[in-house]
């Protein structure tokens, strides 16, 4: 125990007040108070289109949503996005991490350029891919046509069944850098001796990956999956510019409407505040388990490992 830490001196408490009070105030006022208020509103039938004072309706909004076909459809779609994105993203990230784990001249430059897409605005990424996949003049068409792989230009973003697939591709492109970094750090912590020993024992390259690399990377995959689950589950920006139609207050493409877009639509376009508030709490419940794993890790590292 260090000296001077048992008793808080008056100068210390002044310091604490100055640095912590603004933070506590901001978080209380902008995060926790609104969160409680939103919950209160989810128990009313508040609708800004209808000029009447909101009445308490109990859990009616929640029941209405759970029984609603559109809600079920949108929820299913959100999970579909997650289920396609996560394996796709992990495969891309694992491949790139294995490559960047090799020693070769120019590795630093390749690494820097590889991580670029992650740091660009999501709305720009959606736009980039929308233009790339454009049916009239898009580069993908030009490229494939030039290679002779397609006979005529394709409208990649026309078929509703294909849209979700392209959404997951763009989400993968936006986010793969994060799992790549985590997996690369994991790879670099595996001691070379293990591989050398396996080589001596005659294990082939594939076997070495299968029995050494992947098992030892499992914790890294764990971190990456938790973070990427949150990111994919809350997808918004990319869809907005890729397929949603993108105009404020306008109609939204129903085939790529995920939970976050649905929530935006309910509250800020349809002005059904009570219903939208209930939806936000249902989303909270759905992501709670994964979120808690994440926060416990952060918390344990942040405060207790001293």
């Amino acid at each position: 125990m260090k000296p001077n830490t048992r008793r808080i001196s008056s100068s210390d408490s002044l310091y604490l007040a100055v640095v912590l009070l603004p933070i506590i105030l901001l978080i209380a006022l902008f995060i926790y108070y609104p969160a409680v208020d939103t919950f209160g509103q989810s128990l009313t039938n508040r609708n800004l289109r209808i000029r009447r004072p909101p009445k308490p309706v109990g859990l009616a909004n929640y029941v209405k949503l759970i029984e609603d076909d559109e809600f079920r459809e949108v929820t299913g779609r959100s999970f579909k996005v997650v289920i396609i994105t996560l394996p796709l993203e992990m495969a891309v990230a694992f491949g790139i991490a294995m490559l960047l784990n090799q020693r070769f001249p120019g590795r630093g430059v390749v690494r820097t350029l590889t991580l670029l897409p992650w740091m660009l605005p999501g709305v720009v990424n959606g736009f980039l891919w929308g233009w790339l996949l454009n049916g009239e003049y898009g580069a993908l068409n030009g490229f494939l046509y030039q290679l002779g792989l397609i006979q005529e230009y394709q409208y990649w973003l026309r078929e509703p069944e294909h849209l979700i697939f392209w959404v997951t591709v763009v989400q993968t492109w936006t986010r793969y850098a994060f799992p790549t970094i985590i997996l690369l750090a994991g790879l670099q912590s595996i001691p070379d001796d293990l591989y050398d020993a396996a080589k001596v024992d005659g294990a082939a390259a594939i076997a070495r990956v299968r029995f050494i690399t992947i098992p030892l990377l499992l914790p890294s995959f764990g971190i990456a999956l938790v973070v990427e689950f949150i990111a994919a589950f809350q997808i918004f920006d990319v869809i907005w510019t890729l397929t949603a139609g993108g105009s404020v207050g306008g109609s939204m493409n129903p085939f790529t409407k995920t939970l976050m877009l649905y929530n935006y639509e309910l509250v800020f376009r349809d002005l059904r505040v009570g219903l939208g508030a209930a939806l936000s709490y249902i989303i909270l419940l759905m992501s709670l388990a994964v979120g808690l794993i994440f926060v416990m890790r952060v918390y344990n590292q942040g405060v207790q490992e001293q």
Partner: protein, 294 residues
């Protein structure tokens, strides 16, 4: 086939560089294409089949157009757009720099408190800040919108900055706490025995040593704010406060589709993050992975 040691090494490098090429095409092709589009003439860009891959006469006309005319995007629309790029750029710069600066100062002060001081409620305050990270933001956003309306802060830069600072706090406080903890405490203890109070200690000993951490927090906060779309989508209405991410979507949704001009707008929107990612990537990666990778 026996290649010998040098031959094997050459083959290994050849395979690696081929794979690198594939990875770089995947990572950079969409960016390259939009950059090329923004400096192409419409005739070349709209050629079918497209087969140029670099304009024969590169032109900056699209950039000039989006900053000076703009109205082209909204022919028949209701609001003039000629100055939207200019105001968008100004708003993006103001909110990113201000949010980044303020949150860095706040997080440094708090990071020291969490890393080096003992006080009642420390754990619970830290937990309440960190709980924000996985909290789906909608839970707060809905009621926050009505709160901001009552406070008259909707569609103002001040309102946006306050919200961004709040949202950036958890990551920033976490980073600064770990950074300050990594500074050897012997130096600080020596200074305390000499009777330096907390302010002096933080200002003259912690601040200089924590500078790399502060730079990381500032850059990450700036980048996150610049790239954000949802917050301004909800809390802005006019060019008084709309940043570039919003302006870009206003261009996309309009009547005339001018891909070369929209590409120029996209390039302007992503240029600062792009440059930051090229030149400060070390800091950004460290911050964005919460210091998990150093």
């Amino acid at each position: 086939m026996n290649l010998g040691l040098r031959g094997q090494e050459r083959l290994r490098l050849a395979v690696i560089y081929v794979l690198c090429a594939v990875v770089l095409i995947w990572a950079l092709a969409p960016i390259y294409w939009v950059a090329v589009s923004s400096i192409s003439t419409r005739q070349e860009l709209y050629a079918r089949p497209y087969k140029i891959w670099f304009p024969s006469q590169p032109t900056l006309e699209s950039y000039q157009t989006i900053f000076t005319q703009g109205a082209k995007f909204r022919s028949g629309g209701f609001s003039p757009t000629a100055h939207l790029m200019g105001t968008g750029l100004r708003n993006s710069v103001i909110i990113s720099v201000a949010s980044g600066g303020i949150v860095t100062l706040m997080a440094t002060g708090a990071g020291y408190a969490f890393a080096r001081m003992e006080f009642r409620g420390k754990n619970i305050i830290f937990l309440l800040i960190m709980l924000m990270i996985p909290l789906p933001i909608w839970v707060s956003l809905i009621a926050l919108f009505f709160l901001m309306s009552r406070l008259g802060l909707v569609d103002t830069l001040v309102g946006l900055i306050l919200i961004f600072v709040t949202l950036l706090l958890p990551l920033s406080v976490w980073l600064m706490t770990t950074f300050v903890r990594d500074i050897p405490s012997e130096i600080q203890d020596a200074a305390r025995v000499d009777g330096a109070d907390r302010w002096r200690l933080v200002y003259s000993i912690v601040l200089p040593l924590a500078r790399p951490g502060m730079v990381a927090v500032f850059l990450v906060s700036m980048l996150t704010t610049w790239n954000n779309f949802l917050i301004p989508l909800i809390f802005t209405r006019s060019d008084d406060s709309q940043p570039l991410t919003i302006v870009l979507t206003l261009f996309i949704g309009q009547y005339e589709v001018a891909w070369e001009d929209m590409s120029a707008a996209a390039v302007v929107t992503m240029l600062p993050p792009f440059l930051m990612a090229l030149f400060f990537q070390r800091y950004l990666v460290r911050g964005l992975t919460m210091g998990a990778v150093k």
